[in-house]
Assembly symmetry: C2
Homo-oligomer: 307 residues x 2
């Protein structure tokens, strides 16, 4: 199958308005009056971000959702994406069919459409780049730099589930019931960024960040960009109960310093309530402290580093 | 050097307005009233699109320019780009310094700025994805589908120079003087898409396409999208004189079916003059014919295929 047939068969059915059925050199995004376009790009790679044996539809969803997570943390409502696929010779048509099926499911779930992309062969690992687009009211993108002393710190969803899933794949010893094991693996494979929360987030967040490199490291980005200190109360971090049972005392520091959560951490006035958990406070100063039993925890590492 | 240091050192100095110094999860593109945003993405890979021994600044320029070529063919004036870099362990800081220097030179030349991106490690070949943005007046993007019988066919620049450069790297026998050899190699390494011609192109083109897969194959995209036939007069194709001397009778069919030219082919009314060459005509029917000495040439292949 040549490149054009491959695009026509698996990807043209996913194309939205402005994509011209993926038959042109480029795509068009008409301006949305009163809005800014927010854009982000993230690449996932076999052996680093997913495994060769992962189901293709989950790989597709992960590639999309790591980008939707960035948009969500900025308060942007997603609309379109570009897809760049570098395929090793081992990828067959069945894989592509399941992969494009995963994209179709997430397009329906999140109300987004494919705008264009690029495909090529590689002798290296399967590599998937997504560039995602979303909109915010003009000037309304949530920055990392707006946290102020007196703000509280919040996080959506659960932290550490993906790290638990990865530990299972790495054959770390556990006695988890099958359902709990599967739940952790599912979060590693398919993140659940709080996409529908983006609009509400704009109304309440003074600063926000996508939790992808580890909660403490990512809050460090807010602290640094805002010129403030952040203290996280370890016991307040929302962990999957199975991790507390499995990892014991190390569950909190591990969860707070692992990557791949794809939740949103944000600051705002104290006393907010909604689909999130209060985990700390913003004060004058610099850096991020993780308190466990009232004492500053020594952290194993401060988040995932690619280099 | 970790990912954040690498970005701060080599890429933050290239960041434009809306990029927040590459310190946030995403970037912002404010709407330009009365304009559409045009977006395209293309990936280049070591061993496929460039060689490991190519100078890093030329690799940077090729990664950018293959995308600027797409925008130009659509009549769009480029403004920003995103950069996704997957780096093998062999890449050292000297390489990155020269690479970012090449980006800086092209940013100045084309009036564009870096908006954001992603970096990661790979065990595979060096892989560089660029997503490029440009603007056209609302509804003004040139499509592939507007060619009509009676139009003439034109192309900018020279066709085949890049194929000549690649043949030199592949040790095809030649007796070219050093200056001519270097000129062909330079076009393989650094394409010269007619970026400044985009505005004028909008006024005269009924359809246009980026010449990247081979002139005949790319004109086939116009023929197919427009529902017309195209006849190319082989002797009219603007070839570097050195290729005619080197390749003899096969120069025209080879140049017309090799990839990597990154010029713009377009259709418009007959009798146009400007920085381009008339090479053929549009008629009713379908497909593309290449005439050489008045007879239809049997083509070795119809353009580069990735699969």
């Amino acid at each position: 199958m040549n490149e054009f047939d491959l695009i026509a068969r698996y990807f043209a059915p996913l194309a939205g308005e402005g994509a011209f059925g993926l038959t042109d050199d480029a795509a068009v995004i008409p301006p949305r009056p009163g809005h800014d376009l927010v854009v982000t790009t993230d690449t996932i790679m076999e052996g680093v971000d997913f495994f060769a044996f992962d189901p293709p539809d989950t790989v597709a969803k992960k590639a999309l959702r790591v980008n939707l997570s960035d948009l969500t943390a900025k308060g942007a409502v997603p609309s379109h994406y570009l897809l760049s696929l570098m395929l090793p010779p081992s990828i067959a048509s069945g894989w592509l069919e399941a992969f494009s099926g995963g994209l179709a499911e997430d397009q329906a779930l999140f109300g987004i459409a494919l705008l264009g992309g690029d495909t090529g062969r590689t002798e290296g690992p399967l590599t998937i780049s997504v560039t995602a687009f979303g909109h915010v009211p003009s000037g309304g993108m949530i920055r990392r730099s707006g946290a102020r002393p007196g703000d509280a710190v919040y996080v959506t969803g659960l932290i550490g589930a993906s790290a638990g899933g990865l530990a299972i794949f790495k054959r770390e010893k556990h006695v988890l019931p099958e359902a709990e094991r599967d739940a952790l693996v599912a979060r590693y494979r398919v993140p659940e960024p709080p996409v529908s929360f983006a609009r509400d987030l704009r109304a309440i967040a003074s600063a926000a960040v996508d939790v992808s490199d580890g909660l403490v490291a990512d809050l460090g980005q807010i602290a640094s960009a805002s010129g403030v200190a952040i203290t996280v109360e370890g016991e307040a971090i929302p962990l999957p109960p199975s991790l507390r049972a499995w990892w014991g005392d190390s569950a909190i520091p591990r969860a707070a310093t692992s990557g791949d959560d794809y939740q949103t951490a944000f600051t705002g006035r104290p006393g907010l309530s909604g689909p999130f958990t209060r985990i700390g406070t913003v004060t004058a100063g610099e850096g991020v402290k993780l308190l466990i039993a009232g004492r500053e925890a020594a952290l194993p590492r401060t988040g995932y580093r690619h280099f």
